[in-house]
Structures are given as structure tokens and as C-alpha cells.
Amino acid sequence: MSVGIVLVSHSAKLAEGLAELAAQMAPDVTIVPAGGLSDGSIGTDYDEVVAATQRADRGDGVVLLYDLGSAQMTAELAVESLADPSAAIVADGPLVEGAIAAAVAAQAGQDRKAVAEAAAAAGIPEDLEPAEATAGGAEVELELRNDVGLHARPAAVLVRTLSEFDAEVTVRLGDQEADGRSVLALMSLGARQGDRILLRARGPQAAAALQKAKELVDGNFGE
């Protein structure tokens, strides 16, 4: 099971398109779009948001994301109306990046607080602290040979894979370094086909994580 996600937008198309996009990164997460009014016009439908929140909850709770202020209010009101309001969190964050980040975090099995935080952190991608030298850790340099480099889907695949190991992994490209748990941070590296990335890992399963990452990269992320 995983945390469910509800996308509250003024536009049905926006919510549906984003749900489709996010589902690419998180195939096992229940992502429910709640966009527009029932007659197809622009707006937020309280009843639909409540229904979507109930539908998205598979037992681990729900994180709701919103596009504009009134969608936030509708989402908050919907959460307050739940039998157990603590089962759902309205996450602050940019809708598109936040939804992707939340979906990947949910796919990785994180709890609703962590999923909401992933969505919120998606708004500040520059919030990357330079990692300390990896004393006692392992590292591996890999060349990206797939067409799109470390773009959305490969980045999501990598994050998902790394999240299965008890290890902290950073990915370095030139002077930039990204957290191996953040799809957006990885994407912001802009690593392309032909680039060489340096993965550093710490933790009990550092070596295994790097081995698995190497297999992924060598296998062109299954593309």
C-alpha cells in the first residue's frame, strides 16, 4: 500500500493530465484528479474533492496538492470534513513538480508526512546542500548512454531503485551534486547522453545500491 494523492485544480484537463504524468513515475500509487466543476467549467468542486480524497485513501492516508488559492481552501475544507482529518494533508508546493515529487515519494513507500514534505520541497530545488566527502562510503562513475540522460523517467526509476536500499546516495555531475532521493534534484543536474555521473553512497547497503544503479545505467534504464 502507499499514500494516495489527490490533485485539486481549477481545470479538469490540468488535473487529469498531471495525474497521467505523475502515474508514469509512480505506477503503484493511487493518483486521483479532482479538477473543474461537474459541468466541465473552470472551478473547484468541493464534493468532488471530498470524494476523490476518500477514493485515494487505500489505508495509508492521502496527500492533496492544489493549483491556486481557492483550490487550497477547498482542499483544506475537504480535509476538515473527513471522519479522520489527520488521514489527509494538504501539501504546499508547486502543483506539477510537487505532484511528481509526491508520487515518487509515495511509490517509495514513504508516509504521508514525508510525501507532503517531498511536494513542498519541490518548490525549492536550490535547497541542495553540498554533500560532505563520503568517508568510508563507496563510489562509482557511470556513463549515461541512454537517449535522454537523467531526465524525468530515468531519474524516477533511479530514485525508486535507490530507495529500496538502506543507503544515502548522492549523484554528482561536474560541480553539481544531487540527492539520490529527489527526482527533481536529479533532473536539475541536466545530465545528458554521454555525460559521466559520479554516484557516492553511504550506509549499510551502499555497495549494493551502487551495484544496482550501475546495472540500471548500463541497461539504459530499461529503455
Binding site: 466543476l37 472551478g43 473547484t44 468541493y46 481557492s70 475544507l77
Partner: protein
Amino acid sequence: MTCKAEGVAAAVRAAAAVVAEHRAELVELDRAIGDGDHGENLNRGFTAVVAALDAGAPDTPGGVLKLVATTLISKVGGAAGPLYGTAFLRASAKLGAAADLDVPALLDALRAGLEGVQARGKAVGGDATMVDALIPAVSAAEKAAEDGGDVAAVLTAAADAADRGAESTVDLVPRKGRASYLGERAVGHLDPGARSSALLLRAFAEAAR
């Protein structure tokens, strides 16, 4: 003087009529600084409220306000739905199951409504929102009550203050909602939410007379 459920229902119907009458004006105000749907949305909501009252009005003032709240939340899109919905919901919770609405209960309901709007919209005075109409309205209502005013006098004082408060939004730079994206360019425009708040309070005051 107190007011029973029928009186509150009558006031809500009067408010619905006022909203219908001012629908175009609210649309115009919102078109200038927002997305132009405020009058339409509010009218749709209050039309549904009247239909719900026709289908069977609750027998307490709090029950009537709760019906208004749930209907507005469901039928009004945009920011006005959750904002007015929260206001009526909190007011209704304050009134509880009491059969009569007296002046102290009215003050409690007005305060709870304002607090609800502020909690939901996170707006403070001076942000050019409905809060700029509601804050002076609640203060004026408290003052009128201290002076011994009855329900009608308290609501009239609130409506007068709300009118002035709404007018004050013309000179303000919006800091909430879609109008905030316009910044300085929104100065010179009356906030549609402040205007509709003042209209609703006026309708309640007229109905209570």
C-alpha cells in the same frame, strides 16, 4: 427582540434576492481584478440555498445557517465557496441547537464567521479582501450591542460599517487571491468579496427590521 429559524430563513432568502439583483455588478467588479465569476458563483450558490430551504427549512437558526454553509460550499466555486461556507459553518456551530437568536448569540455568530473567514483565507485587515468589510462590521456590531441595540440595530450597524470597509478596499493593494497578481494595478478597484459581504449584511439587516 430575538429571531427564530423562520426569521433567519427569511433573511437568507432576502440575501439570495440581493445577490441575484447584484449579480452583474459583482461580475464586473471581479472581472476588473479577478476571473469575473464572483457574481455568477454566488448567485448559483444562493439559488441552490433557496431551493434547499424550499425543500425543508431546519427549525433552528443554527440549522438554517448550516444548510446555507453546506450548500454554498458545494455549489459556489472559486474562493467564495469555501470562505462563505466556512463563515456560515462556524457561525452555525456557535449557535448550536438554540431555538432563538438573540443579540449575544448574534455577536458570537458574527465573530465566529469572521474568524472562520480569516482562518480559511489567511487574510488580515488591509489585504483588500472581504475581511476588510467584516472586521469593521463585527466591531460596529459589538458597539451597537453595548449601546443596547436589538438584533436589527446590531445588524444595521454591521452593514453600515461593512459598506465603509468595502469602500476602503479601493485604495488598497491586494495581497490575497487572484487580484494579488495585479499588485499596484488593482488599486482603484473595489474588492468583489468585500462588496458581496457588505451586500449580505445589508440584506440581513433589512430583513431583521
